[in-house]
Assembly symmetry: C2
């Protein structure tokens, strides 16, 4: 098996290291704009076509990240009849149906286990579970950066800004942390999980996402006093009488202290599915990092090498995100009291705000209006765990 | 695919129900000594040979349980060239090398995912993990009955006898609970996990096991005061400078309250592996029950149906259990103070007993002598989590 590796950053280097230990899986090319004198066992090139036109290369591993040029490179690779392994959650969640269809048409594998769960064998277990069980929901802490921030706000008694700065200093948060703290990273992972669990192709940007940018230490304190931790949770579930619609969202969530979810520390992730026959099955592990993510990428390569690497789910029904059909309780703290939605809510005092009940769609729309109006808002879903 | 199902008890009925929903996987025979008028879509027979001599049957599912006649039936089935799926942890852990060798020789699959972890996809994930990572340890709460008992002693403030009786009344413990509460069930699961993780074939009865029969509410209380829960943990790990030996044991263990392990309730299980590249990956779910266990059995059947069901691990090095090489701290409460081992221990007062350091082998041998001498003893390992 000859491999073309696109990108030699944190994860790319990790994959390269792990594959060097493995006989039979040779990285023949590394595609990178920089010269890489440390790479002595592979051809370093800036020329995509050199790799795609080499008939010896059967599989490419895309670890450039971001949308461009990763999307163009992956599309060209699939069209050239190469199997593709990628960790690119942005690209795969935004172009899911298109990329899966192209892989199907070309008769090649497209695998992206590392795109959700990092080192946790999450998507492959989802794939395996839906063979024998009707899955009802997927949910969990899917982003290590936000978990690190919330955990250190709690255990080290820090404010949000302080905890974020510390996470950046330690390399757990990026210089521009928006994708993590605004819940976009979790949104992509939730979309991919829903797509595989339910055999759908959700529009990623229709999945409501509200992050932790506006959380205060006082919110955590009042949650804790009532027996909860605050965690950023992505969830997707069947809704409607026949369970044939899907709701999917990302929001800070009240998690009971005496659950596994309430006791996930540092950058760890926990993700679960619930299905017929099996109840809830949870997976905990490193959600990111050079070697955990690299390991997940290599597992996809091994699956292709072993010849048992079909698609995660053959079905991909296009359907709207039905967040108007999912209602639950919320903790809501806001000064956007003039909005008609707020006025109409039945409100019970709770901590520094209120407990209210709303559809996911309405609550997230309200938050968007509050943001536009320059008002303060923080909310947290209150789910059964 | 035509299936012969051996046994129609709790799990057998569950497997039958789940397979009835699936096209392409037909239960042709049910082997049971009782007439089963409720079975209308399969042939009910008492005659093993009727099934084994039917060339249409390619796979048998053994759910009789216990050693005999399950062992004879499985051996005969493998010799007849049938794939075998079983949930029988006793049989597979005691005859591991022999059964795997026979399956290899006959070129058939022998799968036993349900034998450890119940509905948790544990052994298949171990198999997958060791492809890409050197595994260093496996550990966890692998028995739902003992977790239920310890959890209700804690949350409902019960004594051991009371909690056991309640578990029996609710069907979570058997009339003879010895295998669960003395740690034998966990021992079989630990052996199987170690065998697959490390490519070995341990002698199951050399894995030291000490259960929860002698635990008192006061032990839980003192642990809790110091920030721990008591859980029955099975663990196996590499030991020795080169990591080429394996230690494996089952014992009550002090688990920090702020970990996922410390927050597993009811009959749930949590099992983890730790490996190079990936750190710790944990799996939580239903460790037993008709449908969770049935689901795991059906997953094995689907793996065989899909044609990608090799052995969990091709290697099975015979090696002794090196429990003399694993030392850790223990909480020890005993009145067997005249034993030379006890006298020689360096003891720090801890709760209702002492904190001491011992090899696993020495501590378990001491407990065995205490039992023979009719003395009181309870101990709990103190591991890093």
């Amino acid at each position: 098996m000859k491999i073309g590796l696109f990108g030699f950053g944190t994860v790319g280097k990790g994959v390269f290291d792990i594959l060097e230990e493995r006989p039979g899986m040779d990285v023949k090319y590394v595609l990178d704009l920089r010269p890489l004198p440390e790479v002595t066992t592979a051809i370093v090139t800036k020329d995509l076509n050199q790799i795609l036109s080499d008939p010896e290369v059967d599989t490419v591993v895309e670890l450039i990240g971001g949308m461009h040029p990763a999307y163009e490179f992956v599309t060209a690779s699939l069209k050239a009849g190469k199997n593709v392994v990628t960790a690119n959650k942005l690209m795969v969640s935004m172009h899911y149906a298109e990329l899966i269809s192209l892989a199907k048409e070309m008769g090649v594998s497209l695998r992206f286990s590392a795109a959700a769960g990092g080192g946790i064998p999450w998507l492959v277990n989802l794939q395996r579970a839906h063979r024998a069980s009707r899955l009802e929901s997927v949910f969990g802490i899917m982003n290590g950066t936000t978990n690190y921030i919330l955990d250190s706000m709690d255990t080290l008694d820090k404010d949000f800004d302080e905890a974020l700065a510390e996470a950046q200093r330690l390399g757990f948060a990026e210089a521009d942390p928006s994708s993590d703290i605004d819940g976009l990273d979790t949104r992509h992972k939730t979309t991919l999980s829903a797509n595989i669990a339910f055999g759908v192709a959700l529009e990623d940007d229709k999945v409501d996402a509200f992050g932790i940018r506006t959380v205060k230490k006082a919110d955590l304190d009042c949650a804790k006093e009532k027996g909860y931790m605050l965690k950023l949770i992505g969830k997707a579930c069947r809704v409607g009488a026949a369970g044939d619609k899907v709701a999917a969202w990302v929001e800070p969530t009240l998690v009971p202290l005496d659950t596994p979810q309430g006791n996930i520390h540092g950058c760890d992730n926990i993700i679960a599915f619930e299905g017929s026959h099996i109840g809830k099955t949870h997976f905990i592990g490193a959600g990111a990092g050079r070697y955990p993510t690299g390991y997940a990428v290599v597992q996809d390569v091994v699956d292709i090498f072993c010849g048992n690497a079909g698609l995660y789910n053959e079905e991909m029904a296009l359907m709207p995100v039905a967040n108007e059909m999912e209602c639950h309780k919320y903790y809501l703290r806001t000064d956007f009291t003039e909005d008609p939605f707020f006025a109409a809510l039945e409100k019970t005092p709770w901590g520094n705000g209120f407990e209210v009940t709303s559809s996911v769609r309405d609550m997230h729309d309200f938050a968007a209006r509050a943001k536009v109006a320059g008002k303060e808002i923080f909310f947290a879903g209150h789910l059964a765990f």
